[in-house]
Amino acid sequence: MRYSILVNGNRRSVEGAADTPLLWVLRDELHLVGTKFGCGIGLCGACTVHLNGAPTRACVTPISGIGEASIVTIEGIGESEWGRKVKEAWLALDVMQCGYCQAGQVMAATALLVRNPTPSDGDIDEAMSSIICRCCTYTRIRAAIKRAAGLQAPETLEGEL
């Protein structure tokens, strides 16, 4: 089947079986490899993209179900105001270790801040606990979200650096 989808503001024509997950269309057809494969069943969040602004697991979203929804990936998230702020905070605190999950983290964090520009620790836990970081950079992820939001960063980072 041929599908026409809207990715990072560009209309793209892709070929694939109806049940092909969006993840593999992005990675192997469109070579947008910033969106990562981690578990294939929507449990780790490495494949998180935005579908009409909502954080969505691309590994369990079939291409046939996308329709006219606007897809934004890590390659395009910096075009938005919150995406840019989140990426700046991520760089300023050097959140990354191996970096493999961080596209998913940035996508989830951006969606959180769009919805809630002043998140509490509880809000961050709720929005971000679906994205696994195997290197456990959680201390910095929390601090970077607060920095992007212009909130006081947690003491642990301030005290250490």
């Binding site: 694939g16 079986a17 092909t20 997950p21 593999w24 192997d28 070579h31 490899v33 910033g34 969106t35 990562k36 494969f37 981690g38 578990c39 294939g40 069943i41 449990l43 780790c44 490495a46 990936t73 890590i74 390659e75 910096g78 990426k87 991520w90 760089l91 050097d94 959140v95 990354m96 270790q97 191996c98 970096g99 493999y100 999950c101 961080q102 596209a103 940035v106 961050i124 836990d125 709720e126 971000m128 606990s129 679906s130 696994i132 970081c133 195997r134 290197c135 456990c136 950079t137 959680y138 201390t139 910095r140 929390r142 947690p154 003491e155 642990t156 980072l157 005290g159 250490e160 650096l161």
Partner: protein, 750 residues
């Protein structure tokens, strides 16, 4: 208690260590456009890579400096750290540095990531490379001006003649420096720490911007010309052989190019992470290949091992504990006599599970095997071992295998094994084309080199003052054909050996048919929990402060003679003064001495562990949540890895990450076996720590006057016992089995 963790390095390789071999010399060369190459020369060959970049440093006429990171990047920041060491000594500004990842090349020493050795092995050699470059540029400037070198100084990419104030940029000097002979690395003078401009400064990872653009290329992201995708199905029971499979049916499925049976060639392969039997499917799209894999019907021959199970291991261990150990690891004094005399005797049994690494990037490799050799793109910790394995298995000359070291989405020891590399190479050879092999999560969890589980049966006697005078551990561990399984050992010098006069470590093996291997802090990630928890039991039983008991056991500051140098690296001596230093620091930072003032239901626990030359003491403050599950309020760590933190950006992140990794192991992680196979299939059954369970982690570095050592592993072990000791302080319930079963904390026996 010597540096036993040097053993945790890829010993299966012939990594030559860090000293550049006697037949390899530093050399200069002229870069295209008139720049300087500071490179290596071996057997008459002056090294430059495909793009003409030198082994270590290339300086372009415009002053842009390209520095090569020779080691693989697996998330510990070596691709940033090693170039920082070169750049600081070279005397350039970090903003003018570009970093390029090396390929595997025999000209480089020690191209691996493991054993927390990146820093101790490279700290001096990389600085010397940079200093040699600075020396060349100083000489070129002095020659240009006709002044003595001693009147010149270099910094920020500029050489300055002190008295006249004349300056020349490195870019302008590069062509001239290229014609000078390279200095002997041993002769160069290094900066004083007060002169550092990059070392010690918060420096973001060199790939971080690309990662945030989705542009960094991990192994899984590699695309090469004419590439197909491959999947590989192996026996769920380790070592199972393919009897037959529905190959012809699979070949007819949409998008499938080829399907075939691959034969493992080595009977030891299932244990040693080599090529094992399986069915390969090659397709134009990975999704098609993986869908076809789900339609595979394979008959496996499993031999006699398909009854292997965790429950049987547990029954067997309990049985074996009734008898004397099969072998004695160490015996000091007379434990039986001392136990008979001791006013107080304690017994306890501890157990911990097998663990899978679960790197978030599943195992993958891209390979193109041709008549002339092989080109491989792999996220690997030990590319040399991988090339050796491919050469041996496929019968290719190792010299004709080119390995690109791709950024790895986590490794933790998993990618010290190259099973996925040899699979990719064999599939490429059989398919006659370039392929990218990618495992799914279930395959990744079910085909690992597991952290081995283990059982400890402790017995100890205290004297009237609460000091341990007798200590026994019957360690029931795992082996294969009577030989200890990889990383399943209890080292004979493991603490408290040497600190208690009557001590016995004995060992008995349970037969295991599964691969085991290095996992972040091999040995320590398991042994610390058992030993440091039991030590806490002894402290409480003897009425001693757990901190005071440890200080008492380690005694006054003493420095033990180190073992001989290994891999060209001087082994640092073990220093009880450094133990004391971190114990006292963590106690001070965590307010340990006021812990009795904590509210009811909240407690503090402490632990110390020495590993990979690092000294780490940690305190956990914890209690129970409203739901009755462990709730960690905060963690403090005091870390002594020497006088210099090379990159604070990476260092605090590593320490916090390793500690939270250990917390995840304590709370969740376990691999179990049933009917010979691994039960866990994905993150619904193999749980990893998430942000809502992550407490603040406060890390303090104690800058003792010692050469810097590694940090990826040392902070991990102490958190497991520190947490369990805190939960005991909070609830009175002692955790002796991991992962923590919250029901044990709410009720039942203590």
């Amino acid at each position: 208690m010597s540096a036993r963790h040097v053993a945790g390095t890829p010993s299966g390789t012939d990594a030559p260590g860090l000293r550049i071999s006697r037949r390899t010399f530093l050399a200069t060369g002229l870069a295209a456009g008139g720049g300087l190459l500071l490179t290596l020369k071996f057997a008459g060959r002056t090294f430059a890579d495909d793009a003409g970049v030198a082994a270590y440093i290339s300086i372009a006429p415009d002053g842009i400096v390209t520095i090569v990171a020779k080691n693989p990047e697996i998330g510990q920041g070596m691709k940033t750290t090693l170039p920082m060491l070169i750049a600081d000594e070279l005397g350039v500004e970090w903003k003018n540095v570009r970093v390029r990842q090396a390929m595997l090349d025999p000209i480089y020493p020690g191209q691996f990531a493991g054993g927390s050795l990146g820093t101790p092995l490279n700290w001096i050699p990389m600085q010397r490379v940079g200093a040699a470059g600075r020396q060349l540029l100083l000489a070129a400037a002095a020659h240009t001006w006709g002044v003595p070198v001693s009147q010149c100084e270099a910094s920020a990419g500029v050489v300055r003649h002190r008295s006249s104030g004349r300056t020349l940029t490195y870019g302008a000097l590069a062509g001239k420096a290229a014609a000078l002979p390279a200095p002997d690395l041993d002769s160069v003078t290094l900066k004083r720490p007060s002169e550092y401009t990059i070392i010690g400064k918060f420096t973001g990872g060199v790939d971080s911007p690309a990662i945030l653009e989705g542009a960094a290329v991990f192994g899984i992201d590699v695309t090469v010309a004419e590439m197909s995708y491959a999947v590989y199905e192996k026996s769920p029971v380790f070592g199972g052989r393919v009897v037959r499979a529905n190959i012809e049916e699979i070949k007819k499925l949409p998008g499938i190019r080829d399907a075939f049976i691959v034969r493992g060639i080595d009977a030891e392969a299932p244990i040693k992470m080599g090529l094992v039997d399986g069915v390969a499917i090659v397709a134009d799209k990975w999704w098609d290949a993986d869908q076809a894999r789900r339609k595979l019907r394979i008959d496996w021959s499993h031999q006699a091992v398909s009854d292997q199970s965790t429950q049987a291991f547990e029954r067997r261990a309990a049985q074996l504990a009734q008898s004397a150990p099969r072998s004695i690891i160490r015996r000091d004094g007379d434990v039986d006599a001392a136990l008979a005399r001791a006013p107080k005797v304690l017994e306890a049994s501890y157990a911990y599970p097998f663990l899978a690494h679960a790197t978030l990037e599943p195992q993958n490799c891209t390979a193109h095997v041709t008549d002339g050799g092989a080109e491989i793109w792999a996220p690997t910790q030990d590319p040399r071992a991988g090339a050796t394995l491919v050469a041996r298995t496929l019968g290719i000359d190792a010299g004709k295998i080119r390995v690109h070291m791709m950024r790895a989405g986590g490794a933790f020891g998993r990618r010290a094994y190259n099973d996925y590399m040899v699979e990719a190479a064999m599939i490429s050879k059989r398919a006659g084309r370039a392929i990218k092999l990618l495992w799914d999560r279930t395959q990744d969890i079910q085909h690992d080199a597991y952290r081995p589980g283990g059982f400890h049966y402790f017995k100890a006697g205290l004297d009237a003052a609460g000091r341990p005078v007798a200590f026994r551990d019957h360690f029931v561990t795992f082996g294969h054909d009577g030989r200890l399984a990889a990383t399943a050992e209890l080292p004979r010098d493991h603490f408290p050996a040497g600190y208690i006069p009557n001590l016995e470590y004995g060992q008995t093996l349970i037969e295991l048919n599964a691969p085991t291997g290095w996992m972040r802090n091999p040995g320590g990630n398991a042994l610390a929990f058992a030993f440091e928890s039991f030590l806490d039991e002894l402290a409480h039983a003897g009425g001693r402060d757990p901190l005071a008991l440890r200080l008492d056991l380690y005694g006054p500051p003493r420095v033990f003679a180190p073992p001989p140098a290994r891999r060209g690296m001087k082994i640092p001596p073990f220093d009880t003064g450094r133990v004391r230093g971190v114990l006292e620091l963590v106690a001070q930072k965590s307010d340990w001495h006021r812990r009795t003032a904590l509210p009811a239901g909240t407690g503090m626990g402490l632990a110390f562990y020495y590993s990979h030359f690092g000294y780490v003491a940690e305190v956990v403050k914890a209690g129970l949540s409203r739901e009755g599950t462990p709730k960690v309020h905060k963690i403090w760590a005091a870390v002594d890895i020497g006088r210099q933190i090379i990159n604070p950006a990476g260092a605090y992140n590593q320490a916090q990450g390793a500690i939270l990794d250990g917390l995840g192991q304590a709370l969740h992680m376990a691999v179990t076996f049933e009917n010979g196979r691994v039960v866990q299939r994905n993150f619904d059954t193999y749980h990893l720590l998430r942000i809502n369970e992550s407490p603040p982690v406060e890390v303090h570095f104690l800058r003792s006057d010692n050469d810097p050592t590694g940090l990826g592993e040392p902070p991990l072990p102490p958190v497991l016992p520190a947490l369990c000791n805190a939960l005991f302080a909070a609830t009175g319930k002692r955790i002796r089995t991991l992962p923590i079963d919250a029901r044990m904390l709410r009720a039942g026996e203590t």
